[in-house]
Symmetry: C2
Subunit: 431 residues, 2 copies
């Protein structure tokens, strides 16, 4: 039996969750790993705050006292860039393994921290930074090693997924649901990190790095939040047979090939596996050349699921991490502007929208390929147009006598992909 | 770079898939594992059959020639018990690692083969035996080590899931869809292993062993197939807001506690994550005390996904397998006979079924808790009854003047569970 000393940085939701999990799972961990983990120091900002009795003797406000407490692993649960980054670097240099849940830090400084870890012969693990309890990074690292992953798509932010789900179900505005979520504590007082897509961008950047072996700097990942989504738009989307999700999509075109990474509100056909992922669940769809596709769904946040990911990393410190070369300067592709299927929302301020059938006929008469039309009682309309071209926007404005500012377009994901996949499966006789 | 010699037993769909995958993924495998795998012998029954040129020189019909070909791993892709079992035992004794896709063998003889592997210092890996390409066994072994898994539920057989999906969509009989599936090659000429639930039972038995650390002999796993499912029943189930799936469910009550394992046609609310798993997809829902729940969805069979699982096992031969004690004589619980929610199908031969509302009133007037009623135009009816008690069957027969043979009941899974989970998530502020 090996007793491994743990230094815990931070005692918020994640830190406290890890502390309790290490106690509650001690016997299981011992049985399966022949190790025990003992928290020997807990770094906090305010030592005077009342905490559970077992933690009190371990509390310190000084990082050097953590390092002096005979710790072999540092669990960083502070969040943000500084002082987390400096502490991690110092701990690595002192020969400590690092386990962290800090997506912003891993997204922005992952490559250099990994180099530092390698140079100091320590592990740097961060399963909890993406998808909460879902073991997606471990799956990519250890269980899909022989696969060339060419696409990663997912619902990576629980707060926005909760807001979009509630807006669609209750038919009320973004502001109203956001206020409700803040009141109940599901959304932060400053919701920007979630609703403007930063959180999902960090996670997509980490996923992309592991899946494609390439580092895309965070500012270069396309990002669009959900602030402009309206209940009227969601109602039309539902009537067209789709769901709107803040979808993160990463694709690589060939091994070491160019990469596209982006987060934006995207329509999924209701039958798509990710469309039924509601509320605070997260989901990640991985596509590889051999496995075809694997989807992982689970709790994207919360004390226990996040603690699960951190504790699983601790249990796997002795697992050899497979070598993955990292392309630090990959070719980045812009968003595809044309060729796909696109949803167009003509918002209720527009007047003179006809019924759905007449609208379809008018659009078809000017040469557009229309997959669906829906008209709302409030005067707005939704269109699903195939073979989209950016010039269609001005065509629509001219033909329907609209103001361009009243027109929102969203990508539609996976409808043809899903059908093609099912075709392929059935065709291969693979049942 | 290490060149590892592979002996391949069998060259059907799985064997050929592994052969081609090892060639196509060679560079990826080398990059990530610093190893190459070289197939040095291929055991077949009929050496005269025409095969791709690269395989011809490796073909043999004699197992001893495989063992003489400088192989360090044997991939068993024959299926069934004998001669697969004898070959595996001989290879282990000769110091070879084993990778197999053989669910029947692993379910029936896994514990003794694992002992033999341990005694000979070799690995015995079988990811491909459950869920095709879905890396569920690796997830249980390596990525959920600190979790106490208390429930495993899943759609583990693609053929029956395809048949039930097609029957529900097309509204035609089991026999008709089975014949169609056989004609197209999605179902075997002898469909018993699939439609009578044996295949799913093997897989559930393997999952239960890894999840609960307990071996339940295959004959003791409850098993009910899908032969008695009718299109009329599926129509009523859909109208009640549910889907019928051949669901495998394993539960453990407390660590090393009693276990329940069973496969049978089961209703899921349409909103349940497993309800939208259609066609040949497989899905496994894992529930643990820390992670809460993780669902894995993917291709349950087919040349490439199965080859993916086999090749991933090859890449992980050097990964230490965590110790798991095995309770070889666990307490087995019978199916819960009462207390849950149950669907009752009164089949169309019954006469005198009233409209749905009157039916509900009549059932409520005799004290039943009715969640839903639906009546078919063909005279049958479907009921969802809460707090089920086996005595209800005779009450229904007496009250509605039925013949008992016209009454089918099915368990309803997860409706309250799902709601409770969502409640809990939201309640914990975990977004």
């Amino acid at each position: 039996m090996k007793g491994i000393g743990v230094g815990l940085l931070g005692f918020g939701t994640v830190g406290a969750g890890v502390f309790h999990a290490l106690r509650n799972q001690e016997d299981v961990i011992l049985k399966r790993t022949e190790s025990t983990f003992e928290v020997r120091a807990v770094l906090v900002q305010n030592a005077d705050k009342k905490r559970v009795k077992e933690v009190e003797p371990l509390i310190t406000t000084r990082f050097d006292q953590v390092m002096d407490a005979d710790v072999q692993v540092v669990v960083e649960a502070i969040g943000g860039i500084e002082p987390a980054r400096t502490y991690i670097e110092q701990a690595m240099v002192a020969g400590c393994h690092i386990v962290t849940a800090n997506k912003e830090l891993v997204a922005k400084h992952g490559p250099e921290l990994e180099r530092l870890a390698r140079n100091n012969g320590v592990q740097f693990l961060y399963e909890a930074s993406v998808g909460g309890g879902i073991p997606v990074l471990g799956t990519l690292l250890h269980l899909l090693k022989s696969n060339r992953i060419y696409r990663v798509s997912g619902i990576l932010n629980g707060t926005t997924n909760y807001i979009l789900t509630r807006m669609a179900d209750a038919g009320v505005s973004f502001d109203q649901i956001l206020a409700e979520a803040q009141e109940k504590g599901y959304a932060e007082a400053d919701p920007a990190a979630d609703v403007d897509g930063f959180d999902a961008v960090y996670k997509l950047s980490i996923l992309g790095r592991l899946a494609f072996g390439a580092h895309i700097p965070v500012p270069e990942v396309r990002r669009k939040g959900i602030r402009d989504v309206t209940a009227a738009e969601l109602e039309l989307i539902a009537r067209l047979g789709y769901r709107l999700k803040l979808l993160a999509v990463g694709e690589q075109y060939g091994e070491m090939g160019p990469i596209s990474l982006g987060v934006e509100p995207t329509l999924l056909p209701s039958s798509h596996p990710l469309a039924s992922v509601n509320g605070v669940h997260n989901a990640i769809h991985l596509e590889g050349d051999l496995v075809q596709d694997v989807t992982l769904v689970g709790q994207g946040a919360g004390e226990k699921p996040t603690a699960s990911a951190v504790v699983e990393d601790l249990c796997n410190l002795s697992l050899p991490v497979p070598r993955r070369s990292l392309d630090e300067d990959p070719l980045l592709l812009p968003a595809a502007e044309s060729g796909g299927t696109r949803f167009v929302f003509l918002n209720p301020r527009n007047t003179g929208i006809l019924d759905a059938d007449t609208l379809r006929q008018r659009l078809e008469s000017i040469g557009l390929t229309v997959e669906g039309t829906a008209v709302s009682s409030q005067g707005g309309a939704g269109l699903i147009l195939r073979r989209w071209d950016p010039s269609f926007a001005s065509v629509l404005v001219a033909e329907l006598g609209l103001d361009l500012s009243n027109l929102t377009t969203r990508p539609v994901f996976g409808s043809q992909g899903v059908q093609a996949d099912q075709q392929q499966q059935v065709g291969s006789g693979a049942v």
